[in-house]
């Protein structure tokens, strides 16, 4: 092995191409609309927000450099920790439950069923609906006064619950609705993964006498671990960025900035950032929250990439 490596290294390197010769230039030109967009609206704004996070910036007046002030304040702000915990709590419930459910649905809808397309469509329908619509549907179930959930509970003599007001219920209820809304999307990704598994593997296992459960655990799960990894990463990022749902479903007061549930029970980092930046004109502080959120997500994603060596198999 070592020999081979040495030989490879000894080989003369391929002539390095100048990046701006004929083809490169064409390439650059063709991607330039995207590049300009990327530089101006992604890289530019990111650096701007990084700068704002070190400044006192009320949007109306130019930012004033204040060094680490915003970050110091942030790490002493009890609301930040509350929002961070709410976000983590949401993620801990959301990611495993949604990943598992999506896989379950994908396996079920990967069979040769009558009306298969209809079933797949039904599960995908909430994905393309707007959060405002979903919130109305969710309200029909979880409304304290006229909702279906309390009507069912009443049949069993259980007192009505105030699902979205109660501090203990609000996040689990939000998670249930969020999963319902988006599980179809992950199901599609899993379906694509499942269809990539060769049927020969299952046939061989059947001949060896494996039952359905064994086939699922020994073939399906390992064979789609790459897809599962992708789904877990996407779900984690999504749950950290969840804003619209919480804004729409736990808003309520007409006075500015009043969102985030009773006692901030559903205040997540994105909502805290929005409130500080756009309701309270503290764009510097909001930018600091954004960068902390980015760093947290980066670390989590890197950890997931590290861990994937232990359980993800690519053929």
């Amino acid at each position: 092995m070592l020999e081979l490596e040495k030989q490879l290294k000894a080989q003369p390197k391929a002539k390095k191409r100048k990046w701006l010769d004929g083809e490169g230039r064409w390439g650059l030109l063709l991607v330039s609309p995207y590049l300009v967009h990327f530089i101006v609206f992604v890289v530019g704004t990111s650096f701007a927000s990084l700068y704002f996070s070190f400044s006192d910036y009320d949007i109306l007046n130019p930012p004033k450099w204040t060094g680490l002030d915003n970050y110091e304040k942030l790490f002493q702000d009890s609301l930040f920790y509350r929002a961070l915990w709410n976000t983590v709590y949401f993620t801990l419930l959301y990611v495993p439950a949604k990943t598992f459910l999506a896989l379950l649905l994908a396996v079920a809808l990967n069979q040769k069923l009558k009306g298969l397309k209809l079933f797949r469509m039904v599960h995908f329908l909430p994905v393309i609906s707007s959060w405002t619509v979903i919130a109305y549907v969710a309200d029909a179930i979880f409304n304290q006064r006229i909702g279906f959930a309390n009507a069912v509970l009443a049949k069993f003599g259980v007192a009505p619950q105030s699902w979205l007001i109660d501090e203990g219920w609000v996040i689990p209820v939000l998670v249930v609705v969020a999963i319902w809304k988006s599980v179809g999307y992950m199901m599609i990704i899993f379906l694509a993964g499942l269809q990539g598994i060769s049927s020969e593997l299952y046939e061989a296992a059947s001949i060896d006498g494996a039952n359905a459960w064994q086939k699922f655990w020994r073939i399906t799960v390992p064979m789609i671990s790459g897809t599962t990894f992708l789904v877990v990463i996407l779900n984690t990022i999504y749950s950290f960025q969840n804003f619209e749902q919480i804004f729409v479903m736990t808003g309520g007061s007409t006075e500015a900035g009043s969102t985030g549930g009773t006692n901030n029970a559903s205040l997540v980092l994105m909502l805290l950032m929005f409130r500080q930046g756009f309701s309270f004109y503290k764009m510097g502080y909001a930018s600091a929250i954004a960068w902390v959120l980015f760093l947290i997500l980066l670390v989590i994603t890197l950890i997931q990439f590290k861990l994937q060596k232990k359980w993800v198999h690519y053929d």
């Binding site: 004929g22 230039r25 064409w26 650059l28 030109l29 330039s32 609309p33 300009v36 101006v40 006192d56 009320d58 949007i59 109306l60 007046n61 309200d139 409304n143 304290q144 006064r145 006229i146 007192a159 105030s162 979205l164 007001i165 109660d166 309520g252 007061s253 007409t254 006075e255 500015a256 900035g257 009043s258 009773t262 006692n263 901030n264 409130r275 756009f278 309701s279 309270f280 004109y281």
Partner: protein, 442 residues
Amino acid sequence: MKKRRLLSTIGILGLLTAVLFTGCSSQPSITEGGQLELFLGYSSDPPTKKKMEEIIAKFQTSHPNIKIKTETAPYEDFYQKLTTQIAAGTAPDIWQSDGTKVFGFAQRGAIRDITDYVTKEINKDEVNGLEFNKDADGKYWGVPQGIQVGALFYNKDLFDKAGVSYPTADWTWDDLKAAAAKLTLDANGQNADDPAFDKNSVKQFGFTFFGSSRGAFNILKAYGGGVLDPTMTKSIIDSPENKKAVEWMADGMKRRLFPNPADLKAFQSNFKVFLSGASAMQIDIYAATTAMNGAELNYDVAPLPKGPDGKRFAPVIANSWVINKKANEQKVRAAQEWITYWTTSDEAQVEWTQVGEAIPVKKSVANSDKFLTNNTKPENKKVFLDSLAFAGTIDTNAVFAEWVKVFTDNLSELFMDKYGVEEYIAKTDQGIQKVLDDFFKK
């Protein structure tokens, strides 16, 4: 070689145009016809937009030297865009500001101090609500465009059904509560005074209040308390008067006479409790009449009740014309001409009154049939004008949204029995002072 040069030229040109598009374009202030162009912004919905355009057209006819260019959008969008425009230096020369935002714009240096103009050119005896834009130093920051005053709205049908007499101008908050008890009904139709009343199955509430301008703020004031001191930089929450007022509210919540935050949530919108006929009374402002008339409620208004010592308070939101600090002198003068036209011309005032969105700022129009007409509900519109005598702002300042959040969030917890009155007072006093210090002690 040629091809290569051509390509790089195209590339560079492409990049340049992209940069140009992101840059801002400056606007000349004099049009080709020699008119001065005034850039005016306002938030609107379709009916108010149509009416504003008509008034602007009339103004331009009588002021041929000025050409008005407008910018308008629904409320949220308008202010979001305005904020970024102020930052970029491209905001309108004059805009209609929500009454709760005037001091915020002033204290952040976005609008012009117009004390000189207001004192010299606007007659206080003719215009409603000028003093609501005056700060603690006596400076004027805006001129009212339309006035909102709070009053007690009541559902006549529910009062009739319960055999309770309508609210009067003599009511105290305790009178209101006594009536509310008779108007709060459970699923079996028992009222809250009945020993058999079931607190867990309230189907109709006596009285609804929420938020700040439609809620607790007014009750604190009538009890002789309040939230901020006159400088708007210090919390005065911790006072015996406030404690009494908060106890009055908490007691009503415990007795289930008033819907608590969970009940309000169950109605999807705070306004829906009264609008759907599930509450006999509610505090609201004049603008609410549009929705109530739309819901065909049989309702009327009375002045907000007196406190225990006879003190009265009605909340005011004076939506106002404010002038951009960066506008040049020429534009400032044009903007002032527009404001003078708006506040003094019968033409503009009568037209705007027809939208039914606000109380007219010109006193003679407000006191005329044009506003006090009996053709639309509520019958007793004069209540709004009478209430101006004891009306005040809702302690708006640069951090209004932020302190209101502390104030109302903590109230929600109190009303949901998370803690008691004493703890509410201490926690809120501390929380609001922190918000104020963060901004004013920098």
